[in-house]
């Protein structure tokens, strides 16, 4: 029974990591841009849920409204960042990391000045309170909802990449930017749309996080490092790698935590990722290229 409880805890953690990392791997994969402000886009999504609840009142309606609104808020922030700063720096990925870190600092302080430094709570709707009993095991409904939400986001993103003209353009730019441009694809527009979607996914992740606890200005920093580890371990440019890596890291964290302590588990997960990169330096799944690696 314990094993199943750990399994659920791991999958649940994995689904949170997946939501946080999905958009990250999209923007990192396409543009090689490390967006350190991704965590703050999550924070913006979480505060969107807080504001929507303040306006609407009913917890259930506000959650369903906040999910699309969080996507739009995150996406617009991403679009703004791309248009003002990131597009100037595509040839300097490491510098982008530092610039977006500066953006992250500013956004955190804005949140602190607008909403106050103490954490705030967003009420979960009644239909998500309590737990589902399966074979003597109590599974919290909020956790199940986040699992389902992560699954929906993955399927939607995978379908969008695979079956729409936009997805085809995105994949073309990921595989070979110059050739895609030569075939008449506007990589400029594609980049912007990708950044909108990736940042929007961060907004959705932020809304989901309000179900798990109170939210504060530093919400993003708590998840961003783990989300980056998922992207590194999963390899870039493919949804599949991110899904597997997020699940694996979530499960590892849960099982290590069970046999040791939460803090030792973090260190063990880090060691495991470094060890895994010994076997596959490019991550689990990577787009084959002919560049020297």
């Amino acid at each position: 029974m314990d094993i199943i409880a750990q399994l659920f805890a791991g999958l649940s953690l994995g689904s949170v990591l997946l939501l946080a990392a999905l958009g990250l791997s999209l923007t990192f994969g396409q543009m090689g841009v490390i967006n350190m402000a991704h965590g703050e886009f999550m924070m913006a999504g979480a505060y969107t849920a807080f504001v929507v609840q303040g306006v609407v009142g009913d917890a259930g309606v506000s959650l369903l409204l906040a999910l699309p609104l969080g996507f739009v808020v995150g996406g617009l922030l991403g679009l703004l960042l791309e248009a003002t700063l990131i597009h100037r720096m595509y040839r300097r990925p490491l510098d982008t990391l530092l610039v977006t870190w500066g953006v992250a600092l500013v956004l955190q302080q804005v949140a602190r000045d607008v909403f106050g430094a103490p954490n705030v709570d967003v009420r979960a709707p009644a239909w998500l309170s309590g737990a589902v009993e399966i074979g003597g095991l109590a599974l919290p409904r909020t956790r199940l909802f986040i699992l389902a939400l992560a699954a929906v986001c993955v399927v939607a993103l995978a379908l969008a990449l695979r079956a729409t003209p936009l997805g085809r353009r995105i994949r073309a730019v990921v595989q070979n930017r110059d050739l895609a441009e030569a075939s008449g694809i506007s990589s400029r527009t594609t980049d912007r749309v990708t950044f909108f979607i990736g940042s929007g996914l961060a907004g959705i992740a932020g809304v989901a996080l309000t179900l798990l606890g109170s939210i504060g200005p530093t919400l993003g920093t708590n998840y961003i490092v783990d989300a980056f580890l998922v992207v590194v371990a999963g390899g870039i440019g493919q949804v599949k790698g991110t899904v597997i890596a997020a699940t694996a890291l979530g499960l590892m964290q849960a099982f290590f935590e069970y046999s040791t302590t939460a803090s030792v588990a973090k260190v063990l997960v880090f060691v495991a990722v470094v060890a895994f990169l010994q076997l596959r330096p490019q991550g689990l799944v990577s787009v084959r290229t002919r560049s020297l690696a």
Binding site: F28, G32, I34, L85, R88, M89, R92, P93, L94, D95, L97, L98, V99, W101, G102, V103, A104, L105, V106, Q108, Q109, R112, D113, T221, V225, D226, F228, L229, V231, V232, T261, A262, S263, V264, K266, V267, V269, F270, V273, V274, A275, L277, Q278, P281, L292, A293
Partner: protein, 355 residues
């Protein structure tokens, strides 16, 4: 030839003159600064030591290390553990362990009772960790952003571990309340002046080492690996080895900075070593000019000074300022302030040739 006229000349004389000027300023600082300000300057010098290492690894070698706080923290915590044990006396137990812990000194603390062992461990533990991580990462050609992310994850894991092991590390409070530094009373102003001079001398020594490394064959190889790693490999060099050495040197410099930070500031806690301060070390280096010799030192001291004076007046102002610095300097002036003269000169020549 006066120092100032030498500064205007290019090359070796100019480097020497700048170095001499910096040494003279550091020597004269105690005569003009109040003891409180001098303590602050000594703290800034410790942080600048980390910057010298980052200048070497990031500026020269292109290794964006977001986890120097780990090595700074290792040096600091090892020193703090030694000072705690020394304060407790032979066989004694540090005060905080009686409070949170079992009242017993754990086995892995014991070697730090000896001052010589403490100094050796301060140098060796960070070097070993940096060598292990660097070797594992660089020989598998994990590089660029991947390395940056791993170094940041290391900082996150280190902080979480420190907070989790409260009985032996002091948790979020960290280690503080030291009375003496290798037998010298820390409350005595004369000893505090001595600590300042030690920090100044160590920093100048590090700058000299960094200069020597940068101008040596190793330094040229490091720049070559930064700019064209594959070409360096085809010429028969091992880029991984070059990177590991640069990373280890940067780690040891950060550890020494951390070890001196502890007696000067009187506390080391997870807040000094985590993800946020680790990235914070970079901004001074970026402003001063990451690939220059004195740029990282001057930039780091200037940023520390700005942080202290801005947060004294506007508590939330500093974070906006720091964020803006990251955005403006890295996006629009990647060479740092050291490149301003060069950029202006190039622009002038370009205008002249157009006219």
């Amino acid at each position: 030839m006066t120092v100032l006229s030498a500064l205007a000349r290019p090359g070796r004389t100019r480097t020497l003159a700048a170095y001499g000027l910096a040494a003279a300023l550091l020597l004269l600082a105690p005569t003009v600064l109040s003891p409180f300000r001098l303590d602050l300057l000594a703290k800034f010098l410790c942080l600048a030591m980390v910057a010298v290492g980052i200048g070497l690894a990031w500026g020269r070698g292109g290794l964006l290390t977001l986890g120097q706080g780990v090595y700074f923290g290792l040096g600091g915590y090892l020193m703090a553990m030694h000072l705690k044990l020394a304060d407790a006396g032979p066989g004694g137990v540090p005060d905080f362990m009686l409070l949170y812990g079992t009242g017993q000194v754990p086995g892995w603390w014991e070697p730090l009772r000896s001052p010589i062992a403490a100094i050796l461990l301060i140098l060796l533990v960070p070097a070993a960790l940096a060598a292990a991580l660097g070797w594992a990462v660089f020989t598998r050609r994990v590089r660029g952003a991947y390395f940056a992310i791993l170094s940041q994850a290391l900082a996150a894991a280190f902080t979480i571990l420190l907070i989790g092991q409260q009985q032996t590390t002091g948790g979020t409070n960290g280690l503080n309340g030291f009375r003496a530094f290798f037998g010298y009373d820390l409350a005595d102003p004369a000893n505090r002046l001595m600590l300042y001079f030690i920090a100044a001398a160590v920093l100048l020594g590090m700058v000299a080492v960094a200069h020597q490394l940068a101008t040596s064959r190793f330094g040229e190889l490091l720049v070559a690996v930064r700019d064209q790693e594959d070409r360096g490999r085809f010429l028969g060099y091992d880029p991984a080895l070059v990177k590991v050495v640069a990373y280890v040197v940067a780690a040891v410099m950060a550890a020494i900075g951390g070890a001196l930070f502890v007696p000067i500031v009187g506390i080391i806690s997870p807040a000094d070593v985590g993800v946020v301060p680790s990235i914070g070390f970079l901004i001074g280096v970026a402003i001063g000019g990451r690939a220059t010799l004195l740029g990282p030192v001057l930039g780091s001291i200037a940023v520390s000074w700005a942080q202290t004076s801005i947060s004294e007046q506007f508590p939330s102002g500093w974070i906006y300022f720091q964020g803006a610095l990251f955005i403006l300097v890295v996006a629009f002036l990647p060479g740092g302030l050291a490149s301003v003269a060069g950029v202006a000169r190039r622009r002038r020549t370009a205008e002249r040739s157009r006219a």
